[in-house]
Amino acid sequence: MKKTHLFLALIAFLFVAISTIQAQKEPIKFGKISDEEWQLAVYEKDTAATAVVFCDYGVSDFIYSESQGFQIQFDRIQRIKIFKKEGYQWANGSFLISKKYDKVGKLKGVTYNQEGGKVVKTKLDNDQIFKEDYNKYFDVMKFEMPAVKEGSIIEVEYSITSESWDIDDWQFQTGIPTLHSEYRVSVPEYFYYKQLEKGFFPIGSKLANVRTTKQTGTVSNRTEGRVTQTNFQNYAFDYQVTDYMFISKDVPAFYTEEYITSRDNYISEIQFELGNVKWSNQPIKNYTTTWEAIAKLLLEDSDFGSRIDGGWAIKDEMAVVEALNTTPEAKVNAVFELVRGKMNWDGRNSIYSFDQGKAWKEGSGSSGDINLLLVAAFRRLNMEAYPVILSTRANGFVHPAQIIIDQFNYVIAAVKLSDKYILLDATDKNCPIGILPERCLNGQGRLISEKGGEWVDLKPLAANKKSYQFKIGIDAEGKLIGSVNEKYEGYAAIEQRVSLKYYTDDEAYLKEYQKNHSPFDMTLDSISWKADIPKPVLVSYQFESEDWIEKAGNLWMISPLLLGQRTTNPFKLEKRDYPVDYSFPHSTTHTVTFTIPDGFVVENLPETKKMILPERTASFMYSVQQTGNTIVVVSKFDINKVTFLPEEYADLKEFYNQVIAAQAKQIILKKL
């Protein structure tokens, strides 16, 4: 396991077997509100909570009918108490239903209020329930509970029957505390589901047991041949059902924090994915079971496997590449530049390519269209290349222990050069070859090959590196005049190239830059290597400021880092529950050379400082040196590690505080 995954409560599945789950008492009965629930006015464990979920109870069960076969019925009851007006939003509900497979069986809701010692019920009317078009595949059911006040208890119950064998995922955690969350799932022996537990707060208890059930009925069988026959058969069969029960109690509210990758990484949840189906006397039908099986499945998929072999869409171009390049390195470069140059990423994430030829012709497509084409191009040149599927940062982590293909939403290419894989993503015009866009830097990806595949690290192979050089003179009135050279490398160059795209000319860019850095006036010299990937981006300009030096009597005070001075700490909260994630290492260097004017002496200089966090995860070097009438200030601020765990938060916060304090110290000049 990678270290970045350590904080996730990924516990191997251990079920406690009990005699019968079916016989277990249901945790909630619609309409039966207890006195304690009425009396609860504030939730002790989180007094800030504006509402609580008393109980959230869901059941997914397979039901059998002769006409439909097995279908899944999902029932859910939720009881919520609203404490404060700020919690009214929890009286608004919605859920998605599949246009093709799902039917809403019932949806009812009641708001209960206590008025003069009596409980007054207000029902959710049909005209307060709305079905809306959500997207191509789903509708959304929305409802607004009526008559909600502070102190109201609301109950909602609904059921969905689904013809698809997708068992609903269950989230144990939401934006308010949940006292009791329970999910029961019953699976007939014919079905096998992978289960994936996610989140920071572990599921409280997991129970499983097996029981036998009997099904009787009549079945008709049509045989086709020379003569079509229909046979009717009575049947009765026994099959086994596994009942699972998941319970979490006193689940804290999930409050979002800054610098976290995705809410989905942290929220407590159980997911199901169909692994295989096996009817008696029939061969097993695998959906997914092993990574090797997933690889096989994908390679047989016409929107995946067929897209990486052939590459007919680009055969002419590949012939040109083949003709013009001799070394494998040159070929890789040429292919990458060709595909990246021609293709515009349409912003969509996908591991599939539905129409590669059209995408190439139009020069636009999803991550699947572009990067599977890249793999195909390499293969056409007889190079060893594979697709690597991954989950983007916004989509949450991949859990290698859980073999579920839905975890992935993106694909890149891996090509072997001198026995090493180079990972390539041609969707981003600004990333140098071999450097992945930030969205891809998310733990591990799965390389898909005919041999079954392997895990590959999605590491940042560059840092976000910025350096600034100032040469500053000071005139007799205290005006700063000088020149500045800025250099952006690695991920900083990528960021810089992206922001330059927002301006038609370089002057417009600098003008906007200056707006964010008053009181400095800037005049552009040049911006170099804007399109020369992988070179750094260089920005140089002339610099003036009348207002930077503070004057106190005959003392002049200069904050030495100019626009590079850090004045705010990004970490303001006292503690943190989730890791801090920087995506890639950062390194920022400022070198400022001042020439002090005649008639002044240096009264005092800021202290030199050196600070290193344990294991060099972050460091800060600060020095101020005087030689004759010049003062040289150097500040080097490095974040060397990508993920800091919550227990490292206090150190990190203090690190920033000390950087701010050191940089705040001023050079003091005294008028003679």
Partner: protein, 634 residues
């Protein structure tokens, strides 16, 4: 062998391309002057609207834009909204490269047709159809074309040929053709060339054109859009919306239409009426009754945006809100009106254009210019204004959302233009008193209270909507002092038309003062330092509009460490300009330093040449607020 093959292939390519190419809108055809400061140039924009009758307006639009950089990308998006009363058809999108070669023509499956989701509207029938073409290779050109049918004449929209700053227009044309039965009124603003009006076959043809309009650059403190950009407004006199006919030839008749729509919708169930009457029994003062009922509204309802057909104009029945306890601005204002009715207090429904910096409505051009509803209680001359969508709003406070603007009061006689109250500078105050103990390491222990009034109440209003946990997090984010620890805090406020709120705060700021050799520097303004200097402009084109109308005063007492003596005290400053006044002075008494600072901002519109003076004023106060006290070791 291979080389030959290659050449052949390349030739083949060239031939294919030459046959396929048809050049459209090459960037080389844009006059140089139009490219200056332009993120985009609108090459061609033709709008034709045909008003067939009061329930049918057919329009066709062609829009061609060249995009020069990513910031203008959205201008090339095709994105049209429609609803039950309108439809969009015959749409096409084409993308050309800078040479004018067609690189993409959208097919019908490229377009997405979805429900327009604004994030909070519970239910409406708004849908949108869109396709967002773009290229990573700048410049590129997009051609959009579509037809639409609008089955209402309440709002005909207007013509706004210049979309934004940094957008130039090569050629834009707007044509309107109206039937003799549907005459329209028009009004031009900032148009260099007036429109033309001709009558052909009993139909009136209007036409406006804008040619070679250079891109404008944005500057700080600009007056509103309508003062700067060319635009044409149009409206019918007689209109029809969902079968509800009305007239907007003047405000009175437009108000009558609103009144008719909402007539008899204030009926409450008898039980509620008796409950309300019982509630106010024994109260003989109308104001107290109104306040009590307003609290009842706030405690019992919540805001939900719901827009259905005429629902965009017609309120829910009060009886329905009484049952469901929610509604939008119309429904809740109407419900409040019903609550007051129940205890025999008269009130008037008002439609208004809301928004902190919303441009004022054009009072001389009666038409649909509103987006919000509030309630006005005449209360025998002592008028009370009620915002009904907010459960935490102080009683009678309108705030920056609807203050100081013309709005339409709906009466039995029809509409009447009135103005909502303005909060003056003397009431928009923020006063603070702080006591700071500084130790010899520069650490600061601060205890202070700040009182916010009227519009400045909104500086901290959000705290009253937060849970305690969120309040503390928000405070940490708000405080601009690094390395501080909040020891204690509290918020309080009254419930008056001119709200007064206060924040008590106790915190430590580590290393607040900076030690440097044997000196200690202490900034004099820890919590309310002004630090905005508007950018330098080589020349200012437009008048300068200052909108702040506030009065801040801060009093700070610093207890200085005994081990230091004062080397330098900030100089006293007193400046008075038409843009505002600033005074600061400090005095030393033993080891106590007292600093008083006041800042009054003036609102007004000033000529362009004043810009540099305004900048100078902001610069002076920013520098003055950064002043430090210099202590030296004894």
């Amino acid at each position: 062998m291979k080389t030959i093959h290659l050449t052949y292939m390349l030739m083949f390519f060239v031939v294919t391309i030459m046959y396929a190419q048809k050049i459209n809108y090459p960037v080389s055809e844009i006059p140089e002057t139009l490219k200056k400061n332009a993120d985009a140039v609108i090459r061609e924009h033709t709008v034709t609207k045909v008003i067939i009758n009061d329930l049918r307006v057919e329009s066709h639009e062609k829009f061609v834009v060249t995009i020069f950089n990513k910031s203008a990308q959205k201008l090339g998006y095709f994105d049209e909204g429609y609803d039950k009363h309108s439809s969009v058809s015959h749409y096409s999108v084409k993308l050309f490269d800078s040479k004018g070669v067609l690189i993409k023509k959208a097919k019908s499956k490229d377009f997405l047709d979805v429900k327009a989701f604004d994030g909070f509207t519970l239910y409406d029938e708004n849908r949108r159809i869109y396709y967002h073409p773009y290229s990573e290779k700048y410049p590129y050109t997009v051609e959009l074309e579509f037809s639409r049918i609008d089955k209402q004449t309440l709002s005909l929209g207007g013509w706004y040929p210049v979309y934004d700053f940094n957008v130039a227009v090569q050629n834009a044309v707007c044509n309107i053709i109206t039937d003799a039965d549907c005459p329209i009124r028009t009004k031009e603003l900032n148009m260099a060339v007036p429109g033309q009006k001709t009558i052909i076959d009993e139909k009136t043809h209007y036409s406006w054109q804008l040619v070679n309009y250079n891109a404008l650059e944005e500057e700080p403190f600009l007056p509103g859009y309508s003062q700067i950009f060319p635009q044409v407004k149009f409206a019918t006199n007689e209109f029809n919306y969902d079968g509800y006919r009305g007239s907007m030839s003047d405000w009175k008749t437009f108000g009558s239409w609103v009144r008719e729509l909402n007539k008899d919708r204030q009926v409450l169930p008898n039980a509620t009426v008796s409950k309300l009457q019982a509630m106010v029994e024994g109260i003989d003062n109308d104001i107290d009754k109104i306040e009590l009922l307003y609290k009842y509204l706030q405690d019992n309802t919540r805001y939900v945006s719901i827009q259905l057909g005429i629902g965009g104009w017609q309120t829910f029945e009060a009886s329905l809100v009484d049952e469901t306890k929610y509604g939008d601005c119309k429904a809740l204002s109407n419900y409040m009106r019903a609550l007051l009715n129940a205890v025999n207090i008269e009130s008037n429904y008002i439609v208004v254009r809301a928004g902190k910096d919303a441009s004022p409505i054009d009072v001389e051009f009666p038409s649909q210019q509103f987006n919000h509803a509030i309630l006005c209680v005449p209360n025998k001359g002592d008028t009370i204004w009620l915002e009904c969508t907010d459960q935490k709003q102080p009683f009678g406070y309108l705030g920056s959302f609807t203050q100081n603007r013309h709005c339409l009061l709906i009466t039995e006689e029809g509409g009447k233009l009135v103005k909502t109250p303005e909060y003056t500078r003397d009431s928009n105050t923020q006063f603070s008193t702080n006591y700071c103990i500084i130790d010899s390491a520069g650490n600061c222990q601060l205890k202070g209270k700040t009182t916010y009034k009227a519009l400045q109440y909104e500086n901290i209003a959000r705290y009253f909507y937060r849970s305690p946990k969120e309040q503390k997090e928000e405070l940490y984010k708000d405080l601009n002092t690094p390395n501080s620890t909040i020891l204690n805090y509290s918020f309080e406020r009254n419930n008056e038309p001119i709200p007064v709120a206060s924040r008590q705060l106790e915190l430590t700021i580590n290393k607040y003062g900076t030690t440097n050799g044997n000196r200690l520097f202490i900034p004099v303004n820890p919590l309310n330092a002004f630090n905005f200097i508007p950018e330098k402009l080589s020349s200012r084109k437009y008048p300068v509009e200052l909108r702040s109308n506030t009065f801040d005063m801060d009093t700070l007492t610093f207890e200085l460490p005994e081990s230091y003596s004062v080397e330098y005290l900030p100089e006293p400053i007193g400046i008075s300009t038409p843009y505002g006044e600033y005074v600061s002075k400090g005095s030393l008494d033993g080891n106590k330093f007292t600093y008083i600072r006041s800042l009054k901002m003036a609102k007004g519109i000033f000529p362009p040449e004043d810009y540099e003076k305004v900048r100078e004023f902001y610069k002076t106060i920013s520098n003055a607020d950064a002043a430090k006290l210099v202590l030296i070791k004894k």
